[in-house]
């Protein structure tokens, strides 16, 4: 077992009212899992992800990573952000080196950065500033940065939602290759998305949350052959099934 989410609940306070956002979430993440968390908007999926990586504290409950309580700066867990979150004053390479310098891999920071820039297909863009890149390329930098710290668990908050269909399809396939490659990080992936088709295409497990307060409605194992074919009727049966659980 890689990570365990135990009895996690979260309440927000707004103008004196307490709003329950997440209600007693329990699941565990195994090696080689590719989990997609889906649910209607406002169900707390992003909050759940931020609690899993330790950026937010749950109101009650705990998150364990390899048996220990999760710390936000755990280098074995890294994060890809929806809006890329790159530093505009650093070049592509410097953005990646920054997170390496912080994890004390200072010596080979340059080398590792180049390796992952290549892995996401951005060679030649090392010295370019994020502002000059397209959305798809920015997110490639986001991936390279998250992978460069060689995480065991990669968490992603709607990483494809601000990209166009073609770009995101390419990136998804590359991500699947990296995930399947035993020599490359990550071992497991948790991704938040509102796109059910995307979830069925990528995941081997889909966790469906209910509308607020978010509760786990279903935890499905997707038993489809890879590479998956979107035109396969079997594929659509899965998509319909997940949709029916959300609505």
């Amino acid at each position: 077992m890689l990570a365990e989410i135990k009895n996690v609940s979260k309440t927000f306070e707004s103008e004196g009212n307490k709003i329950l956002a997440l209600d007693n979430i329990n699941f565990s993440v195994e090696d080689n899992d590719f989990i997609c968390i889906v649910g209607p908007s406002g169900c707390g999926k992003s909050t759940l992800l931020r609690i899993i990586v330790g950026l937010e504290k749950p109101t009650s409950g705990e998150v364990f990573f390899k048996g220990e309580e999760i710390a936000p700066d755990n280098p074995k867990v890294s994060m890809v952000f929806q809006n890329f979150a790159l530093f505009p004053w650093l070049t592509v390479k410097e953005n990646i080196e920054l997170v390496l310098e912080s994890t004390k891999k200072e010596k080979d920071a340059g080398e590792i950065a180049c390796k992952y820039i290549k892995a996401v297909g951005l060679d030649g863009f090392e010295k370019v500033y994020p502002r000059e890149l397209s959305g798809g390329m920015k997110q490639r930098v986001g991936f390279a940065r998250a992978l460069a710290v060689e995480p065991v668990l990669l968490c992603m908050d709607e990483p494809f939602s601000s990209l166009d269909a073609l770009t995101s399809q390419n990136l998804k396939d590359e991500l699947l290759i990296l995930w399947a490659d035993a020599n490359m990080p990550p071992d497991a992936v948790i991704m938040v998305t509102h796109n059910v088709e995307e979830a069925v295409y990528l995941a081997n497990r889909i966790i469906v949350l209910s509308p607020r307060p978010g509760k786990i409605v279903a935890d499905l194992k997707i038993e489809l052959e890879r590479p998956r074919n979107r035109k396969d009727p079997e594929f659509y049966r899965w998509v319909d099934k997940v949709y029916s659980l959300i609505v």
Binding site: E15, L55, D73, N74, V77, N83, F87, V99, S102
Partner: protein, 541 residues
């Protein structure tokens, strides 16, 4: 602790001090009788100036934002106006308006004009910025739904200005208090042109050695500023928050100690009437070619005649001067260097303490809760109002140099501090999350994340701080106390001496020109390149 409570606490404290003074016979009641009258005249001056500044800002900002051709010269012009030390022009303005209208009314108009010039530019920039930064999608949505003309102005254009206009109004008022007090203090030197007000009350009581009365005057000023804050700016801010394009759903803290729906309602209706009038005028002017042309022509005529008059005064005094160059004129460059060094010293102190303080305050919610209200209250007291008190202390126990640098520091630091706090707060949450989740800490965090992220706000803050500093200089280098003159050699001293010591219009003109050129050169060589760099490289999208 809410800011409102804190403010109420201070007000009560100041009132009780006043009562204590009265009780222990430090002050006589008759001396206080005129205080309400003084306070009212001060507020009235501010009110008039603000009204004109608001009208100016809306029209100037609107034209600059919509007319491509006009923008080319309107923006640089505004930029120069903003960077010129307004206070240096006060004596010139007094002379100008007294020529037009004799007597006290002329001086009053000059004072209102001075306060207006301190309020208007940043508000105009605010309007311009908010009009040009209306999210493209929103403008396009308005286009595609066919929202045009007056409906557009009412539903898109004016609401877009509200947040920045309110924000800049607050700044303008605090700068305005500074200039109000300054103009009253400066004019107090001459009996015939004296402006009754809190500023002249402060300086009169200081000169007369009535420290207790001076403190009461200071308290009155602070109480007025705080009451305005409590009953106007706070509700206005929470009302303006509604108009920000912020979809992130960040909860805004309930800022107020008691619910002031009526005041908010009042603002809404004032704003709506105001916008309705603007809208009607807009339709009128844009609908009828004749009216438009007539307005245009009269506008040009007024502009040309004003410029012609100014040019005439300039040329005539210039020729007079060329015939008779004042002896002091050669000391102007050196004086500017001295003043520049004084400002630099104060600026270095500002930078050293504000950067860490801003970070700490912005990051800690407790600090925000307790320190920001105190800072804001401290910042709302115009530094210049403290100068009489400081002079009393420093002439007795220290050097005037120290007093001047402290005054400059007070006049500069808040701009930097509040800009930096806003800068730290505007760092996107996800950028912060990157730092947290990848464990970027310590010097690496400061070097690669925080300092670059603060850079744009640092540049804006520094620019305004220096602007404030040059203005403060005019008061800081020269003071007459109990009949004897104290001064520090510098451009402010030369300017004041040429105005009030031994009047010399040529010298005033030369000093103002020298100072303006210095400031413009500094802006062009240092701040503008930095600003460009800050916004092309260091700004989050």
């Amino acid at each position: 602790m809410k800011k409102g409570h804190f403010i109420l606490g201070i007000i009560l404290f100041l009132i009780s001090i006043t009562l204590a003074f009265y009780f222990f016979d430090y002050i006589d009641f008759p001396e206080l009788q005129l205080l309400p009258y003084y306070a009212a005249s001060s507020i009235l001056r501010m009110g008039f100036a603000y009204f004109f500044a608001l009208c100016f800002a809306l029209s100037y900002g609107y034209i600059a934002a919509t007319d491509q051709n006009a923008r080319k010269f309107m923006l640089p012009f505004l930029d120069i106006l903003q960077s010129v030390p307004i206070l240096g022009f006060f004596p010139a303005a007094v002379l100008f308006f007294i020529n037009l209208i004799n007597g006290r009314l002329g001086v009053e108009i000059a004072a209102v004009f001075l306060i207006f010039t301190s309020m208007a530019w940043n508000m105009a920039f605010g309007v311009y910025e908010s009009l040009t930064s209306i999210p493209k999608e929103l403008a396009e949505a308005a286009n595609s739904f066919g929202i045009h003309g007056w409906h557009r102005l009412e539903s898109l254009t004016l609401p877009a200005c509200v947040p920045k206009l309110v924000y800049n109004s607050i700044i303008s008022w605090s700068v305005g208090w500074f200039f109000l007090v300054a103009s009253e203090i400066i004019s107090a030197g001459s009996e015939s042109y004296k402006l009754p007000g809190l500023g002249s009350f402060l300086i009169d009581t200081t000169y007369a050695g009535k420290t207790a009365l001076m403190l009461v005057g200071l308290s009155t000023l602070i109480i007025i500023i705080l009451l305005l804050e409590l009953f106007i700016w706070k509700p206005m801010q929470s009302w303006a928050n509604k108009y920000t394009y912020d979809y992130s759903g960040d909860k805004k803290p309930g800022e107020f100690i008691f619910d002031l729906r009526i005041i908010k309602q009042l603002f809404r209706s004032i704003f709506e009437t105001f916008s309705r009038i603007t809208v009607i005028l807009y339709i009128l002017f844009h609908g009828h070619r004749l009216i438009k042309n007539i307005l245009k022509i009269t506008g040009y005529l007024v502009l040309i005649s004003v410029f012609a008059y100014i040019a005439y005064i300039f040329i005539s005094s210039f020729t007079k001067m060329l015939l008779n160059i004042p002896d002091d004129a050669y000391s102007i460059p050196l004086a500017i260097v001295y003043s520049f060094l004084r400002l630099s010293a104060a600026y270095v102190f500002c930078v050293i303490w504000t950067i860490p303080a801003a970070y700490f305050i912005a990051k800690s919610s407790k600090a925000s809760l307790y320190i920001i209200p105190i800072m804001e209250v401290a910042a709302s007291i115009p530094a210049i109002a403290l100068f009489p008190a400081m002079v009393v202390i420093f002439i007795r126990y220290g050097s005037l140099e120290v007093a001047a640098i402290i005054l400059l520091l007070l006049g500069m630091q808040w701009y930097l501090l509040f800009n930096l706090i806003a800068g730290v707060r505007s760092i996107p949450k996800d950028a912060q999350n990157v730092a947290t989740s990848f464990g970027i800490k310590g010097t690496l965090y400061w070097r690669k994340v925080i300092l670059p992220a603060m850079f744009p706000s640092f540049v804006t803050g520094s620019t305004t701080a220096w602007g404030g500093g040059w203005n403060t200089l005019i008061v800081a280098e020269y003071i007459v106390f109990k009949g004897s003159e104290y001064h520090l050699f510098g451009i402010g001293y030369l300017l004041d001496k040429a105005t009030f010591g031994s009047p010399n219009p040529g010298m005033v003109l030369l000093s103002v020109i020298g100072m303006s050129i210095t400031i413009i050169i500094l802006n062009r060589l240092i701040w503008q390149p930095l600003y460009r760099k800050a916004f092309s490289k260091y700004k989050f999208d």
